[in-house]
């Protein structure tokens, strides 16, 4: 039961995001558009490049979708609306999402095409940049909650959301989450203007549909993680807990989706330099500030 509800919420949000995305790109708000486009993808041919690495090529979209779903499975919608409330839930998210990289490397290497391969290796560089900015803010969150259990983390924000308690951590995490979901302006591995689709370039038909679904689900998962870690999860007045979770998740996901429209793509060299020379020191500062706050403020 719980499983069904959570998965419906997940894919429902992904569908809503697809509607919004379609709205921003075509200017028409149509609830049926994602379904139609999915059907159209089913109707197209799904070309397999004369791929010397068929296994990678086939595995990549599925792996991406699986890790996005697994990530969402450990995030609570409401105190009892969670598929698996692991003892190390906050760490499990990281572990699941680390395989986004693996999926992209597979997708890049598999088809033996230049654009895809460059895209795949670019994303490895991107991971090296954003990865620490995902884990370090989560550490600071865990310090306050004294736990890695996701429901406990939400519980610790009953009085004050973490976005207020540790705004620096929120900013870093949000940016890093966008980089993880390779949304614009961090869409280096799939950059249309630079790599003509990059890792996506060789996927067509139903495989492309799965890949698109996986990317949207990934955005929802990350938005949900942001909600749980920084926006107080299900806490909120009046509405039932699950509604608050969903509203916050959708708001974060939409802001991730829309931010890219108004920004040019970042340079890879800049991304790496800024993350390492600015982001990581700031994340350390965040940990120290939170450390002091936790000790000083009861």
């Amino acid at each position: 039961m719980t499983v069904a509800v959570v998965l419906m919420a997940l894919f429902g949000s992904a569908w809503l995001l697809a509607v919004i995305e379609g709205w921003t790109t075509t200017g028409r708000l149509s609830l049926a558009a994602p379904v139609l486009s999915g059907l159209a993808h089913l109707g197209r041919e799904s070309i397999v490049p004369r791929s010397p690495d068929r296994v990678f090529f086939e595995a990549a979209p599925v792996l991406l979708l699986v890790v996005a779903v697994l990530g969402a499975a450990v995030l609570p919608l409401a105190p009892d609306l969670i598929i698996a409330d692991l003892g190390t839930g906050a760490l499990f998210i990281n572990a699941a999402l680390a395989y986004v990289l693996v999926a992209l490397i597979m997708a890049g290497w598999g088809p033996d095409g230049a654009y895809a391969m460059i895209g795949g290796w670019r994303f490895l560089g991107q991971l090296i940049a954003y990865s620490m900015l995902i884990v370090m803010p989560i550490t600071a969150v865990a310090m306050r909650a004294e736990s890695l259990v996701n429901t406990a983390i939400v519980g610790s924000q009953a009085g004050l959301w973490n976005i207020v308690y540790q705004p620096l951590g929120f900013v870093l995490f949000f940016i890093a989450a966008m980089a993880l979901a390779f949304r614009a302006p961090f869409d280096l591995p799939i950059a249309a203007g630079e790599l003509a689709g990059g890792v996506d370039a060789e996927y067509t038909g139903v495989r492309l549909a799965v890949l698109r679904l996986a990317r949207l689900t990934l955005v929802v998962t990350l938005a949900s993680a942001t909600t749980v870690f920084f926006l107080g999860g299900w806490h909120g007045p009046l509405l039932p807990p699950w509604a608050w979770s969903l509203i916050k998740t959708l708001a974060v996901a939409m802001s991730m989706l829309l931010a890219g429209r108004y920004l040019p793509r970042i340079r890879e060299a800049d991304l790496m330099r800024w993350c390492w020379t600015l982001g990581i020191p700031l994340a350390l500062v965040n940990i120290i500030i939170v450390g002091l706050l936790v000790l000083v403020v009861p």
Binding site: E45, V62, A84, G87, M117, I287, I288
Partner: protein, 120 residues
């Protein structure tokens, strides 16, 4: 729910997702197979048919970052258990981790000064 049951549930969800994807593939397959035609299976490259394999030795210019990352990443293994008990232990934990992080930060600074933090 015990931890083991939770893992089994997660495994089941993963397998279920794979199953859904496979059934989608099945539906797509029912529309007909991909027709083999000349040029179609060559990786697309902007209107030029380039058949050369691209799997060569690839120059990853971020290897300086990668080396530092490999070492720096390990810090996380220690930070999570630390974070969980931090409040309980108090100031000692802060000092302890402060020293640890300072040591690591030194390594980062060294790498920075030596030019590891740039495209090679």
């Amino acid at each position: 729910m015990s931890a083991t049951q939770q893992y089994v549930l997660l495994l089941g969800i993963a397998l279920g997702t794979v199953g859904v994807v496979l059934s989608l593939y099945g539906v797509a397959r029912s529309m007909g197979r991909t027709r083999r035609e000349p040029g179609k299976d060559v990786p697309a490259s902007a209107g030029i048919l380039s058949r050369d394999p691209v799997w060569g030795r690839y120059h990853a210019r971020y290897y300086g970052y990668a080396l530092l990352f490999l070492a720096f990443d390990m810090e996380m293994a220690f930070m999570y258990p630390w974070a969980v008990v931090y409040k309980e232990v108090g100031l000692v934990a802060l000092l302890d981790m402060g020293v640890f992080l300072a040591i690591l930060f030194l390594g980062l600074l060294y790498g920075w000064s030596q030019g590891a933090l740039r495209r090679q």
